[in-house]
């Protein structure tokens, strides 16, 4: 009898997801500009894989297929994963990663709302560990590439028709990667960043994509699809960490802006760590969570075995979420803390 409230205001889950996909479009456009249209093929591949895997699992689990396919969460996972992969990755890499993300990291845990780990990052981490060579070979941005690849060439790379073509010919170490290897050769940061792949703030070309993520992120904030806590805390702590190290020894540590504008910092700040399902819910918890990811990311970048560390940091902090939530319960009205 009492079904109040009779009113609802909220955008549905699918509207939220669609808006997040929209927010990714500037970055997709930037990708096309910087690396060529191959990213579109990867997005399509990932989307098809994600939707099929999701439908298959829903069917196996005897769940209604349509509402859950329509919620857009599988699509979002697929896009985030595709945007994290090198744009000339072979087709099977995309398929395997997406399949893993949807089937293992999401559906086997109970589907939407039940996954303790960020599915896209699980997919990414599995690929990085299993296929480190492919995963760390990023193509050079078009403006730096010696051999300009046509769209047909790119397709050949993706679909493996070009075994003869060596990936090394078109790839180029990413700035984070390059920085790391050069530092081990005792070059100073100042010398290293004068290499071709470095741009104004981060990676040449890559900066553009990072800027596009920032724009998309601001749109999410403006639409109130995310709160400020996660991105601000993440970026601030990352900048603080980088700043402290940089001040201590500018020859061995890159400046904070470099860290903000390279790698997956912006993508992570606004789109990855903001995954609600696998993140904390309390405002304070969000600050702790984001700060933790930032610290871990920086440490992995500087001391770890991988060029970037967002994915692993997110997964590590995902494990802490129940604790973080329990420890950061806000004070309830009329109660002492």
């Amino acid at each position: 009898m009492s079904r109040s409230p009779y009113l609802t205001s909220a955008p549905s889950v699918s509207v939220i997801m669609i808006k997040v996909l929209l927010a990714l479009l500037p970055a997709v456009a930037a990708y096309v500009w910087v690396f060529g249209p191959s990213i579109l093929v990867m997005l399509i591949l990932a989307s098809i894989t994600a939707l099929s895997a999701e439908a298959l699992m829903l069917k196996l689990r005897n769940r209604p297929i349509k509402p859950f396919l329509m919620d857009g969460s599988a699509l979002l996972t697929a896009w985030l994963l595709a945007l994290s992969l090198p744009p000339l990755a072979p087709w099977w890499l995309v398929v395997v990663g997406t399949f893993f993300a949807i089937v293992i990291a999401k559906q086997l845990y109970g589907g939407l709302g039940y996954n303790p780990f960020n599915p896209a990052m699980v997919g990414y981490a599995v690929l990085l560990i299993s296929f480190p060579v492919i995963m760390t070979h990023w193509p050079a941005p078009i403006e730096l590439a010696q051999a300009k690849l046509s769209f047909a060439n790119q397709l050949e790379y993706i679909f493996g028709a070009s075994n003869s073509m060596n990936l090394d010919a078109v790839s180029m170490a990413t700035p984070l990667d390059y920085l790391k290897t050069q530092l081990t050769l005792h070059h100073s940061v100042q010398d290293i960043v004068s290499a071709a792949q470095f741009g104004l703030l981060g990676a040449k070309g890559g900066e553009l994509i990072v800027g596009a993520y920032l724009i998309g992120g601001l749109y999410l904030l403006q639409q109130r699809l995310i709160t400020w806590h996660l991105p601000i805390a993440f970026l601030a702590v990352l900048a603080l960490m980088a700043g402290a190290f940089y001040l201590a020894d500018p020859t061995r540590f890159a400046n904070p802006l470099f860290h903000l504008f390279t790698g997956a910092s912006m993508l992570g700040a606004f789109f990855i760590i903001t995954d609600p399902v696998s993140g904390p819910t309390t405002p304070k918890g969000k600050l702790v969570f984001a700060a933790g990811i930032a610290v871990l990311t920086y440490l992995i970048r500087v001391y770890g075995g991988y060029p970037d560390g967002v994915a692993f940091s997110v997964l590590l902090m995902n494990m802490c979420v129940p604790l973080i939530d329990a420890w950061t319960q806000p004070r309830v009205f009329g109660h002492q803390k």
């Binding site: 009492s2 009113l7 589907g111 009329g334």
Partner: protein
Amino acid sequence: MSSLFNIVKQGLGFSDAQVAVTGGVHPPEHKQESSSQPIGYLALPKRLVLPLRQHVGTLPKILVNVGDTVLKGQLLAEAEGNISAAIHAPTSGTIAAIEDALIPHPSGLPDRCLIIDVDGKDEWIAHLSLDWRTQDKTKLLESLRKSGIVGLGGAAFPTQVKLRTSARTHVNTLVINAAECEPYITCDDMLMRERAEQILRGIEVAQYLLGAKECLIGIEDNKPEAAEAMRLACASSPLNQEVTLKVIVVPTQYPSGDARQLIRLLTGIEVPADKRSTEVGLQCFNVATLLALHRYFDHGEPALSRIVTITGNVKKPANYEVLFGTPVTDLIQAAGGALAGTNDYIMGGPMMGFSLPSADVPITKAANCIIVSSPNLFAPVPPAMPCIRCARCADVCPVSLQPQELYWFSKSSNLEKAREYKLFDCIECGCCTYACPSNIPLVQYYRFAKSEIIAQDRSKEAADLARERNEFRLMRIEREKQERAVKHAQKAVGAKVEADKASTNETPISVDDPAMEAKKAAIAAAIERAKAQKKSLAPQNVSDPSPSVQAEMIEIDARREAAKIAVNEQASSQDEK
């Protein structure tokens, strides 16, 4: 974000509230529709149905019989017990029946009602104003029990209880709730626009009874006319000279009209969860309640009617002064009738109201608003999706709960956890459900979990009580058995003694006579039996008593038995003398 916005808004001086709003939502107001015309009056209905259950507390005691003629204002049922409210005849007529009828209650179940056939004369019973300023406060409060006034903001708590002060409580600040934060409802708004002075008179009464030093009137900023009317009335009120009297405009943000929320907004004081507001010097009344106080004290009129908003899917949404007991259908009729597509009737606002079992129920004291509903007005809720932990619900919860956790605990029947996460601090405002993108009926889950916990607590209490009773019963049975046994033994020994006496007539009774022997034997036997019984009973009584405890219990029982026997002995020997 929203709180940030409010802080900025306040910094710029848009509101005079003491503190920033936390949580809450701002649904479309829909107040315009019903607030564009003056308060109307309904024709006298043919029949009035007065449920006994119109307030929080004990049901009142019926004073009339079927067939009695009653006058307007006549007491039909008197308050019974501490928390209760009287019921009066809203107009003159005859008591046609006292029977179960449908009442406006979320349960949808029928309940006991007084039914009056209206005679149309509207003839008043003799009634006088009370010269309340010169009278003793205890007398006034006693008389208030006969007023039938309850909180008219929707809570329906008997007002006489709220005006009593005790040693533990004092009221410094009177908070007057004119926030009317629920969408659609405009009855308080219209009342303030039209009868601000009468409300002020009511405030005078409440201030006098409570001895408050300060009266703060909280109005949401979407009712500028009402706020202005109240300001004017305040300025010309004599109370203005005696105490601080202020109209405070607060931001329009549901649920600012919740008493504790409003108190915080107006005074900055957060009433502790385990205390009543009077324990920290505050009391809160709704404007309509105050007006009812004025009518009672200054005119001797008990609670007979209230202003009700009729809105939604009707031709002419408006406010009416409606006699209690009037069928909702009459009200809908007056508003031009329900329009096509009507599928539901809601009592209260869209955030906390409930669907009526039918439009044939009467208007009661708690009925502030009737919304004639249609799917266009309130779309059916789409099927719920899983919780995506987006925390939108937590962002809007005015008491800073974590609704998504409470949902999880309620759903998995983890009631202990739900309680630990302060389920009982939930005011069921519905903000969380309103904000949930997965359309989860969160409040329903909380209502369910609350009732489950209460039921569990009750049954645990009952079980404890039953266990205690059972233990006691077993003890009694055992004791009686032993007493009977001892008596038997005594009788047998007595008979033998008699027989002996009869045979050897001259023999004097020696010190170690057989009676004494029998007594000793009986005591020993009783001790033995008690031991044996205790052993067999032990598992039922005490789960696992240690040997020493057991021994002690046996000893105590035996001693008790011995004492019993001795007393019996004495009594019977006295009888003999």
